[in-house]
């Protein structure tokens, strides 16, 4: 359930965006830079799509560390700012 193959026709290609269509009329705007270099209008591209669980867990660990850092730095008691008397 974490994988699949998608076939797409390249429609308009411009500097940064290529328009891809499926046979049942879905349209996808996809960055040109992430597509093979030799594609042009009318080309067929294939996407093998998968869920990358390992990379996902690494990212999550990094996120936890960041939040803990912030809490260490700002979530504890700290001296109150100097108060001005008139």
């Amino acid at each position: 359930k974490g994988e699949g193959i998608v076939s797409l026709t390249v429609g308009k290609v411009d500097a940064s965006i290529a328009l891809l269509t499926t046979d049942d009329h879905l349209i996808i705007e996809f960055p040109t830079i992430l597509l093979p270099e030799d594609i042009k209008t009318g080309s067929i591209v294939q996407f093998n799509v998968s869920h990358n669980y390992e990379s996902e867990s690494n990212v999550f660990t990094k996120f936890l560390n960041l939040q803990n850092d912030i809490f260490q730095k700002y979530g504890q008691l700290e001296p109150s700012p100097p108060h001005l008397s008139k």
């Binding site: 308009k12 269509t21 049942d24 209008t41």
Partner: protein, 721 residues
């Protein structure tokens, strides 16, 4: 070109020259679009001595010594003794003592701007009309003289206003104005007309395109123009020196072709390009209207080697002018030309799909072609439009909906429309005018809106506007505010497609289809299961169109049920003309054309309505076309019905023509196109006699001079006399 005082609306300026100054301060907002209609600024005065200053071309006085081109060989040039001058001249009128001086202005479209002389001739005809006799001016008869008229026309290609100043009598000055550099004089050496030829030709192209696009973009709204102080003339009939259609096709189009996209493009076009823009649309329209296919084909063939994408335009010209085999041959060879990808492949496919559908009614092939068109041009609304149309025609309602949902909408695109570029200020109170006003002008306004009295058709020109206003006020607000009526751009087109689907399935089935294929955003938020995953998210705008369709359908169904009930009980079903108009428009949106035509007819039995007439005219023209394709009827049957329809068409054309004239509009593409086939079949003489026998002389005269004369003198075909 003969103008009358009654046909010239004017706006009083708060100070002389204010409008021109304001227009020139806004030039930066015109860049990269067609710009507003041309501006005519008039400097009027009343001489101090009771004696009117006689027009005396020999007394040209001591103005600066510039070159005088006045060798006046032909009729045009002899009208006024002009000189071209870049320096500010000291005109004759400055020597005249004046009792009163004021500035006025109006807008104009259709004037031949290919040459300063043609413009001068037109300005002269305005002078003649206003000086001809005392002018009824805000309640008082005024013996105005005109000292000066400035004519300004926006040239999109060179991003400048082209100005012609006619000092009466006799002097002509031309200069350009740009947003960045202000006024720029045109050289005055002897070769001036030669070196500046391209500026004039560009200006001419812009003026013609504005005239046509104003009509084309607003066809669905009855060619509406919201700037009442505009004279609208038929550009194709305004050629003072050359034939306008020929000049546009053979010279103007080639000169401006590669810059056509500067002018903008119709709402259905996302990617404005050399072949998708207003210039090309006007080219195709003019070619057909003036029966100039041979010339256009010749021009395009010469340009093709350098601009191969013109094969798209050539194929349209073939199709529009009954060369369909040539069209299919051309498309075939172009599409197979190379295995590399032509950048205009989807345009070719789109033309092919359109004519397979419209001309051949071959929906199966139209579907396959439009599927390919969408693959090569997924960002163009038009390609999807024909795909959806084909699915509908083949009863594949599900795919029609899915494709409609994927269609790219243009969000920021507006139709072209004449717009005011000068503000209308209430002028300082003029204590010299009496309070006792007999004319059409409102003292609190700066607008002088005379009633053209040269054409009278009581039913039309005598329409009581207060009655119409009262009908508007008393109309059912729900009917009045049906939101589908204000849809714009691609949303209007998409609504038409959805209405077609709805007509095919009925409302209940449409709802079922919607539920089976789409999921709404709210549903998804609450329910992320597998069933929903297989559905598409219904685009917000499409979801909205469903709601608008429901509201239209509700009104339509209520009306039909009520009317049935009243007919069954033999009671009179009363609605005002305005309400019938609204019902008719609602039915039109829902593609119930027959019921719509009935509503318009009911309404017209009570009083004249321009909107109802225009819609009814379009209906009859469509019926006429269908009838001629109906091979199941006998020739005799067809001819009898044709005769009936033709007479209905003529009647409507005459009335709309009178109405337009009353509002200073003497050019309507709708009327010309609607009359074309009837004229071809019936012949000029017969149509002319029909009108003669049924209408007052002033009306017949208008009909002849505006419509028949066009076909007789400004098209390449010989109409049977």
């Amino acid at each position: 070109m003969i103008l009358t005082q009654g046909s010239i609306p004017e706006v009083r300026e708060s100070s002389i020259g204010q409008a021109l100054k304001e227009r020139h301060s806004r030039l930066s907002t015109f860049s990269n679009n067609l710009g507003p209609a041309d501006l005519i600024s008039i400097h009027k005065y009343i001489p101090a001595s009771g004696t009117s200053a006689t027009r005396d071309t020999s007394s040209i006085s001591n103005s600066n010594n510039t070159n005088n081109n006045g060798s006046n060989g032909n009729a045009t040039q002899s009208v006024i003794n002009y000189r071209i001058s870049s320096e500010s001249s000291m005109p004759h009128h400055q020597q005249i003592a004046k009792k009163l001086e004021l500035g006025t202005y109006l807008y104009c479209s259709g004037v031949d701007t290919s040459d300063p002389n043609s413009i001068a001739v037109f300005c002269k005809s305005i002078q003649d009309a206003i000086e001809e006799k005392p002018q009824l001016w805000f309640g008082k008869n005024r013996n105005f003289k005109i000292s000066e008229i400035t004519y300004s026309s926006w040239n999109t290609f060179s991003s400048c206003d082209v100005n012609v100043v006619v000092h009466f009598p006799g002097t002509l000055q031309t200069y350009l104005t740009t947003a960045t550099d202000g006024d720029i004089s045109l050289d005055t050496d002897e070769e001036s007309s030669g070196t500046h030829a391209s500026i004039w030709l560009e200006t001419f192209v812009c003026t013609v395109v504005r005239s046509f696009i104003q009509m084309l973009d607003n066809r669905n709204e009855g060619e509406i123009n919201n700037v009442v102080e505009t004279i609208i003339l038929n550009p194709l009939m305004m050629g003072e020196i050359t034939d306008v259609a020929e000049l546009f096709i053979s010279k103007g189009f080639p000169l401006c072709y590669t810059r056509g996209s500067f002018l903008g493009s119709p709402i259905g076009i996302v990617n404005t390009s050399n072949i998708n823009n207003y210039l090309v649309e006007t080219f195709v329209k003019i070619t057909k209207l003036s029966h100039n296919a041979d010339l256009a084909i010749d021009v395009l063939r010469k340009m093709l080697p350098e601009y191969p994408e013109l094969s798209v335009v050539l194929s349209r010209i073939y199709f529009e002018n009954d060369f369909e085999i040539d069209a299919f041959k051309l498309l075939h060879s172009e599409l197979l030309k190379s295995d590399d990808v032509l950048p205009y492949k989807s345009d070719l496919l789109c033309v092919e799909a359109e004519y397979l559908f419209e001309l051949k009614s071959d929906y199966t092939l139209a579907l396959q072609v439009s599927q390919n068109a969408v693959k090569y041009g997924p960002s163009e609304f038009r390609t999807w439009y024909w795909l959806v149309k084909s699915y509908i025609a083949l009863n594949d309602v599900k795919n029609a909906l899915l494709a409609l949902n994927s269609s790219p909408m243009t969000l920021n695109k507006e139709k072209y429309n004449f717009k005011r570029c000068c503000s209308i200020n209430s002028p300082p109170v003029d204590s010299s005018t009496t309070n006792n006003s007999k004319d059409n002008d409102n003292k609190n306004s700066a607008l002088h809106l005379p009633l053209p009295v040269d054409v009278i058709l009581d039913e039309v020109t005598g329409l009581n506007s207060q009655d119409v206003i009262n009908e508007h006020k008393s109309a059912d607000p729900i009917l009045l505010n049906l939101p589908a009526s204000s849809l714009q751009a691609t949303f209007q087109l998409a609504y038409g497609l959805l209405a077609e689907i709805g007509k095919k399935t009925g409302w209940e089935n449409l709802l079922k289809l919607r539920a089976e294929n789409f999921v709404m955003e709210e549903e998804f938020t609450n329910n992320k299961n597998k069933t929903i995953r297989d559905k598409r998210l219904c685009e917000r705008w499409l979801d909205n169109l469903f709601m608008l369709l429901y509201q239209d359908m509700k009104q339509y169904t209520m009306w039909q049920a009520e009317q049935l009930h009243f007919e069954a009980t033999n009671t009179e079903y009363h609605k005002t003309t305005f309400e019938w108009e609204l019902l008719g428009l609602c039915a039109t949106r829902l593609k119930h054309d027959k019921e719509a035509s009935e509503a318009f007819q009911y309404g017209l039995q009570q009083r004249f309505s321009a909107t109802s007439c225009r819609k009814l005219l379009q209906y009859y023209v469509a019926e006429r076309t269908k009838l001629k394709k109906n091979y199941q009827l006998s020739s005799q049957q067809i001819l009898t019905t044709l005769n009936t329809i033709d007479n209905l068409i003529i009647d409507l054309v005459v009335k709309i023509c009178c109405w337009n004239h009353r509002w200073y509009g003497d050019f309507s593409l709708l009327l010309l196109e609607s009359l074309n086939d009837t004229l071809s079949d019936m012949g000029l003489t017969k149509v002319c006699n029909e009108v003669d026998s049924r209408y007052p002389e002033s009306v017949t005269k208008l009909f002849k001079s505006q419509l028949l004369q066009f076909f007789e003198k400004h098209t390449k075909d010989q109409f049977d006399m």
